[in-house]
Amino acid sequence: MPGASRVLAWLAAIVAASALAFWLGGYATDVYRKMLIWIALALSYNFLFGIAGQVAFSHFAFAGVGAYAVVILAHKIGLPFGIAFIGALALCALLAYIVALPATRLEGFYLALATLAFSQLVLVVIDEGGSLTGGTGGIANYRLPPVLGFAIRGPWYTVLLVLLVALTLWTLVRLDHSAFGRACRAIRDNAVAAAAMGVDVRRVKVLAFTLTSTLAGLAGIAYAYVDNVINPSVFGLENIFLLLFMIIIGGSGSHLGAIIGAIVVYLAPFLLEPIVGHGFLVVFGVLVVLTILFQPAGLAGLLTWRAARQAT
């Protein structure tokens, strides 16, 4: 049971991360906001890949569906923002469920390739969507309307992103510690044994996929108002590789690892690019291979022995 000290720790972390938003300058704010989006995506992807053991390549596709759906519903069709928001989220959940039903029957890396094909199809549809999706140019010139009467601007939007990360983390930690989370880990480690112990493998797999993909959609909706511009390239294959690398380097299966991995992999190019130019991607590739070979518990496993125990 979470004690009072744990609640205080959560509150302190949220307040500290929010306070940072009021202190950072314009460029740093932009970097900080995108880092928060990456952390939210890494957390949900860690649950799908690290905890449920599903190597899916569709996470950014669902972020893209969320982002495009909310912008199209709210600003092209002109629905009230609340309805557009719920509609976009519901569309993500429904689409994820439809994809999950057949996809979760595929074993191992075949799931990765089926979801990869799905993500590429989403991109093809966005590219060919004409004036509705703006084609390859994307959609611009929209702003977040007042939400529940509040006009959320500047640092307050960053605070909203902090709350998004906190909500994502809280949901996933709660799930992880529930029977559902244990079922997910059991299926990851040995699906046959899990089924023999009475776990409904299909149902748990479909649920895990649908839930984490909907969380990706939520992060995508939040992303749509970071730059107030969306275009298809953001949701392409390049970023799913980065997301996967974040989880592997940070420590697959560990929430802390997902956060560390997202921060390290997202911020590293800012430090490395002046030194090695575009070569930082080679560094990531080498890091991934080394992590899998020598430190499967990732950075989180290096940091604390306890985290390593949980991740394995």
Partner: protein, 298 residues
């Protein structure tokens, strides 16, 4: 319909490239169960080696002959494939890590290869000359670039060679035995480590050959690997992962659907880019065994 014969030549040539990439997957997948997504980057590596040997890019005022490019591609890719297996896959198999670990490690290898190619050769597409010049060749109504006929001929030669290897040689039977049952194969004295290393070397060589063959038509480009990896895998899934012939059939089918669809179906050309993905999804979901049934263990 007047351009149909030429379209058939062009689709067959593209299909042969897909088939070679599918074959490269298959050579590795059969004995090891590892889907090596870095195959596309290995094809790109072959393409860039071809450019480096055949054009004065790497060594100014030195343009090598085509046989040298072919030998360089086969030797370098064979070594690279072997090296990647020894460094990244073998320790994981020895440790007893799940099958996902080597596959994920190979995704890291994919990025290492692609970014190294970008740093070595830059981001601009580099053309390489076709060995038989740019002249057109016509066999009755079937006309096309000489390179297209070279691709078709070379692919069929490779497939015949691989088919003979599997059907007629002891080594081929050893590969097949490992594919059917690793443990039993090890028990009857087959060297698993050597088969695995050879599988990676052979897969890399076939992928590199595909890259070398396609460069005169498409140029070598650092982004060419991933689409090839997807198309090759789609071809593999269509044909079925069990048999060598399946890779050829899958590659040809994919290319014909792509090109005939883009030419004759009344839909925007952009949407035709989605064909391989639709095919991949349909076959994975509805017919995961592919068109040709794998050989049963008897």
């Amino acid at each position: 319909m007047e351009d149909l014969p030429e379209l058939i030549v062009s689709a067959t040539a593209s299909g042969c490239i897909y088939a070679l990439v599918a074959l490269a997957y298959l050579l590795i997948l059969r004995p090891t169960s590892v889907i090596n997504f870095a195959i596309g980057e290995w094809a790109a590596t072959g393409a860039f080696i071809g450019v480096a040997v055949l054009t004065p890019l790497a060594w100014p005022r030195l343009e090598g002959p085509y046989w040298l490019a072919l030998v360089a591609v086969l030797v370098i890719l064979g070594l690279l494939g072997w090296l990647v297996e020894v460094v990244t896959v073998r320790p994981l198999i020895r440790r007893g890590a799940g099958i996902t670990s080597p596959i994920l490690a190979l995704l890291g290898v994919l990025v290492i290869f692609r970014e190294s190619l970008t740093m070595l050769f830059g981001a601009d597409p580099l053309p390489s000359p076709p060995p038989f010049g740019f002249k057109r060749v016509a066999l009755g109504p079937f006309a096309g670039a000489s390179q297209q006929f070279l691709i078709i001929g070379a692919t069929f030669a490779v497939f015949v060679a691989v088919w003979l290897f599997f059907e007629r040689t002891v080594w081929g039977r050893a590969f097949e035995a490992v594919a059917l049952n690793r443990r039993a194969a090890a028990l009857i004295g087959i060297n698993l480590r050597r088969v695995t290393a050879l599988a990676f070397a052979a897969g890399a060589m076939v992928a590199g050959l595909a890259g070398l063959l396609m460069t005169p038509l498409t140029s070598a480009h650092y982004m060419m690997g991933l689409p090839l990896a997807i198309q090759g895998f789609t071809a593999l899934v269509i044909g079925g992962v069990g048999r060598v012939e399946g890779a050829l059939l899958g590659g040809l089918l994919l290319a014909f659907v792509e090109q005939l669809g883009a030419r004759y179906l009344p839909i925007p050309s952009g949407l035709t880019l989605g064909f391989p993905f639709v095919l991949l999804i349909v076959f994975l979901f509805l017919r995961p065994g592919g068109l040709i049934a794998p050989r049963e263990a008897c």
